[in-house]
Symmetry: C2
Subunit: 378 residues, 2 copies
Amino acid sequence: MTHPISNEHTPVQSTLVVEYRLRCVAGESASVKAEGIALEQTVELAGDCVSDAIREEWVGEVLSLSELDENLWRCRIAYNPALAGEELSQLLNTLFGNISLKSGIFIENIDWPVAMLKAFGGPGHGIEGLRRHLDVPGGLPLTCTALKPVGLSPSGLAELAFAFACGGVDIIKDDHGIANQPGAPYRERLAACQAAIERANQQTGKRAVYFPNATAPARLLGERFAAARDAGCFGVLLSPWLCGIDSIRWARDEFGLAVMAHPALTGSYFQSDHGLDPALVLGDLFRIAGADASIYPNAGGRFGFSVDTCEAINHRLRRPLGGLRAAAPTPGGGMNVRDAPAWIERYGADTIVLIGGSLYAQGDVTAASKRLLTALGR
Amino acid sequence: MTHPISNEHTPVQSTLVVEYRLRCVAGESASVKAEGIALEQTVELAGDCVSDAIREEWVGEVLSLSELDENLWRCRIAYNPALAGEELSQLLNTLFGNISLKSGIFIENIDWPVAMLKAFGGPGHGIEGLRRHLDVPGGLPLTCTALKPVGLSPSGLAELAFAFACGGVDIIKDDHGIANQPGAPYRERLAACQAAIERANQQTGKRAVYFPNATAPARLLGERFAAARDAGCFGVLLSPWLCGIDSIRWARDEFGLAVMAHPALTGSYFQSDHGLDPALVLGDLFRIAGADASIYPNAGGRFGFSVDTCEAINHRLRRPLGGLRAAAPTPGGGMNVRDAPAWIERYGADTIVLIGGSLYAQGDVTAASKRLLTALGR
């Protein structure tokens, strides 16, 4: 699969520039802290144990350091992109591996070298590709729901899939907690739900898709992807923090699958003084790795993201970025049918409305889905 | 590979019992918070959307809830172990996937069902297996160092490997930041370093081993493991949070490799009011997944763990646990040669002393390694 780079104007930059906000404790030197990060995340040795040649090529370079407030600093460090060796697992390690074990280090922004963006490639389909496949024109939002709860049989899940598809939901995914439990193992569930969606599409004339949760141990990922592709699925759901962020790229490149990414296990990085900005993880990183859609917990639901955070994620997923396709923001986590139109008004139509519980709560999920679609002007 | 279960007396328990410390904000009900976790981590639906049969079998059961202090509670929730579907990725999801995105939830303890311990299997070699292979009798600590910095060529790294092995270091691993960078790609580095170790062993008559860093994207893990095994390596280094925790089990079962686990990217879970106890992640979880040794940042080094935290990790790695082999605590992260004997005095001999920088700082790493071994009574 090729990933054409557009002619969009992007300043060409050859280093990976990471911008940190540093919280120092009393007596801690911000410049020692910054230099410590530049060594820790590269050579893991004291500066005087490193040759000039290695330092020049591999140690991070502190570009700037400025005081924001008492004991609060901003610093920018430039890294050699070759540190990542074209592997997203090692990119994450370079960004936050060892320093996750320190404190007072928060990554606010990353300037990506264009060559790195090209190498990782971004979404294979993106918002436009999803629209084309689902036959939903620009200006209208896309919709998604989740099959649940865990414990249902493959036929029980398939029945729900059929009902949602008849109601007009575009993307019907497994709940991210449905993996390979006894009673509904992956392959049986996949076959039943995909068949149900196809049956519904024949009735409705629409093009709903089923995204099975393919998150799995590394040794099983390849066969899960192959099974999804062979069953005719357009895409899969993946939780990159459970199965490795590089698995998104694998699903894209070797299996041609679209990927919807789920934020499970990422929340601990989103502290105020330590971690990474959620928009970098759920926006930039997931998009760069190849996610066509990125689920995040919407403001006002069961989780604690602010509207500002959600809009920052939306921006990172859709902004011009080295020619990468735009990915679809997928707010969920307790959004209800009543409020969905207002959220789309706010976030824009290039958004996937992910609603589960609020449809289930209405009993007849086909009728509930139809009401959602109508409310969204679909 | 079989994992014989000893006759050790372990109370048989059929559910996965997770003990949380809950920090409530003003006006937040601890019981609502506890019930919310039990639903969120299982069915992801409101309780009234779930049938009695599903609730009975799959929803977590709040066993107890007690107040510790103002707005601070302890609660125990029992889960059906089948939620994990015998996959460690899904076990992590059940433990902390969605609730990582909430706040004020800290997992203090986990009571593991014996059947789950048997299924995941634990270390393939453990401390005793490492001792046997390395020919180091009980009562003496093991030693480990890291090849670095990134930027050295395979022959440069191999030269260091030879020098450390001649100095008597038992386990010579890649630095965890050395992945597949240009200039020292995995296969060339593996061949050069393994040959260097074997050459050194012929000279010294000792049994040093080289653990290459096999951490990689999921699609490449299998071939990295195979290459390590085929080169004659006894084990590999893995960062489970970068490549998926299940990859430890894969290295053990399909390739017979020993695994040393590295804590990269785990630090964000170790907050005081939200996350998991470090001893659960770097102790229980890594051991259960099959790590024979678990690296953690020792107290007094470049990172912030307390001695109590380190001792809790040691305990979790070595305590009786459903017949699983004991894994080797591997304190590192800035330990120096001078203090190593005192740490062993404190932690006990069933420990791997991991020292990098303090050996490099002495210039002649063979001589420095010999001094370390002598200091440790080896």
